[in-house]
């Protein structure tokens, strides 16, 4: 699966898509492949304030729990409720339908710390 060029990525395998000043967040195809069948997602509460790279959600497979780190500082304004009943969306469509949360970022300059698609692909050795 190609990594969308307009997204930004973290070394911890999260992706960020900017939409109208807000940041949609999920985990990458590489991450879902490593985790295996995802069975449960612990979504953050709407209104939670997060700092960049602070743990704010978790994704579980049968035998592993993976923390999800906020790629940007800000406030959680929306979460993907579909994941409550269909956690497998993350496996099926990690970059689109399997999005996890939307953050209203407090400092867009933080994007400079994140990787481009090319840099991320290099990071995972694609």
């Amino acid at each position: 699966m190609p990594y969308p060029k307009e997204y930004r990525y973290t070394k911890e395998h999260e992706w960020v898509k900017l939409e109208n000043g807000k940041a949609r967040i999920g985990i990458t195809d590489h991450a879902q492949h490593q985790l295996g069948d995802i069975v449960y997602v612990e979504l953050p509460k709407i209104g939670t304030k997060v700092k960049q790279m602070q743990e704010f959600a978790t994704v579980e497979s049968v035998k592993a729990v993976s923390p999800i780190y906020a790629p940007l500082s800000g406030e959680v304004v929306d979460v993907n409720r579909e994941l409550e009943t269909k956690p497998e969306l993350i496996n099926q469509s990690p970059h689109e339908r399997g999005w996890i949360a939307i953050i209203a970022p407090s400092d867009l300059k933080e994007l400079d710390h994140l990787l481009t698609a090319e840099q991320y692909e290099q990071h995972i050795g694609a």
Partner: protein, 447 residues
């Protein structure tokens, strides 16, 4: 050099194995241990003993203890002399139950996983709760872990604890609370022996993580749980129970309990000088991911056959490490199997009948003793199979007289400093006969 029946290797076996490894001497296997450490080693000074000799030695130690085949027991206080059906010992001694471990390879452990599923179901039925785990260490630590779970879910640290809670459980709560930085506050009891609701202050409730109540409580008195959950709102109602009493008493789940725990020893487990016991733990399905302990879950295999696996392991310590819901790994599995077979054997009607026998006999004895001069029932509240007597004479004297006649008469409550005056806690189970009770009364009369 003795030949040990548990170590099959002969010198010939050892020689062949050393050759395969490429060594010439057994001591070379331990080359990594610093010489300094090996030098400091001290033995116990014990020669090996044969099975026959150990039987004799340990048999002598056992013979020095009082037990319920030699004494008629009216002693309770959290551990009870109930009848254990004969089949339980035989079934749990089967090597495939006794010697297996945690069912990590589900395909080789369908026996264990199936009975775990049965046990969880039975506990839910008994307590009217939605989900249960497959055991904790005992009633005391189960209650302490319930407290930790309530703190994890509510994020608050204050607990109100009924003063009529079993003092041994109370001590466990204090230790765990201190370890986790929690605050415990007492709620007194009234002359009925039940929780004093008037003492529940609104300002205490606002910062509350949970209210901890036991029913029947340490004094044997049955608590009325109705309305308690409404009073404490989103704080946890944590109830500790006697599972036998739930054959006849309305279960805590119907009163809005958030966590139900208890001591399962009455369910076919020997008293065993206080252990191994059986901690019971049940809660609401919405909290299942915060519940400690193991659980079996139903699934299917590759051919669509129904089977069982360990469910929701991601809560557990070997996966979530320091964020685990608890550190519990080895639990009390074999005792939970005892309880499962016990509840299957007694069955729906049997458990009710058993509870009724306990209730009726206890009330009969209480009435007979209370009619004696110098004895009175301490509390006016309803009780199950245990009650407190206020006595004119010192319980220690009464207990000695009873002991001399072959009775374990009950528990002197003086050391617990919960009540003023002389108080004796007496338990009556289905094992006690009318004749034994008559003799008990007679001895008290003459003591």
């Amino acid at each position: 050099m003795a030949v040990f029946e548990f170590i099959p290797n002969t010198p010939e076996d050892q020689r062949k194995m050393l050759a395969e490894i490429g060594l010439s001497d057994l001591e070379q296997l331990f080359a990594d241990i610093p010489a300094e450490v090996l030098k400091k080693f001290k033995p116990m000074g014990l020669a090996p003993m044969s099975e026959l000799e150990v039987s004799r030695l340990v048999g002598q130690m056992a013979a020095e203890n009082a037990h319920t085949q030699r004494y008629v027991s009216f002693l309770g206080g959290g551990i009870y002399d109930h009848y254990i059906p004969a089949i339980i010992g035989h079934l749990i001694s089967r090597g495939e139950f006794l010697t297996c471990y945690t069912p990590y390879q589900a395909e080789l452990s369908q026996g264990t996983l199936t009975w775990m599923f049965e046990f969880q179901t039975m506990v839910c039925e008994l307590t009217a709760m939605e989900v249960a785990n497959s055991s904790m260490y005992d009633g005391g630590s189960a209650l302490a872990e319930a407290m930790l779970m309530a703190k994890n879910v509510t994020g608050r640290r204050r607990f109100l604890v009924s003063k009529s809670l079993n003092p041994h459980y109370r001590q466990c709560l204090e230790t765990y609370a201190w370890g986790a930085g929690l605050e415990l506050r007492d709620v007194p009891f009234t002359e009925t022996g039940q929780l004093d609701r008037a003492a529940l202050q609104p300002d205490e409730i606002s910062e509350l993580a949970g209210l901890i109540v036991q029913t029947p409580n340490f004094f044997g008195v049955i608590e009325d749980l109705s309305g308690l959950k409404d009073l404490i709102k989103d704080a946890f109602l944590i109830v500790s129970v006697n599972p036998i009493s739930l054959g006849i008493l309305a279960p805590p789940g119907l009163f809005g309990a958030d966590i139900v725990v208890g001591e399962g020893q009455p369910l076919g487990i020997p008293q065993s000088f206080g252990g191994p016991l059986l901690g019971i733990f049940a809660t609401r399905m919405s909290y299942v991911r915060k519940m400690p302990g193991r659980m079996a879950g139903r699934t299917v295999d590759a051919d669509g056959r129904v089977g069982y696996v360990m469910a929701l392991q991601t809560r557990e310590q070997h996966i979530r490490r320091e964020k685990a819901t608890s550190n519990i790994c080895t639990n009390q599995a074999l005792m939970a199997l005892c309880a499962t077979i016990y509840m299957a054997t007694l069955g729906r009607r049997g458990l009710r009948k058993l509870a009724e026998l306990n209730l009726q006999k206890a009330h009969h004895l209480a009435e007979k003793i209370a009619a004696l001069p110098g004895f009175a029932l301490r509390f006016s509240g309803p009780f199950f199979n245990e009650f407190v007597l206020r006595t004119r004479k010192k319980p220690s004297r009464l207990l000695k007289a009873l002991r001399d006649e072959g009775f374990l008469g009950g528990l002197d409550l003086a050391p617990y400093e919960l009540l003023d005056g002389n108080n004796l806690l007496v338990a009556v189970t289905e094992k006690r006969t009318r004749d034994e009770m008559d003799r008990f009364v007679k001895i008290l009369k003459g003591a």
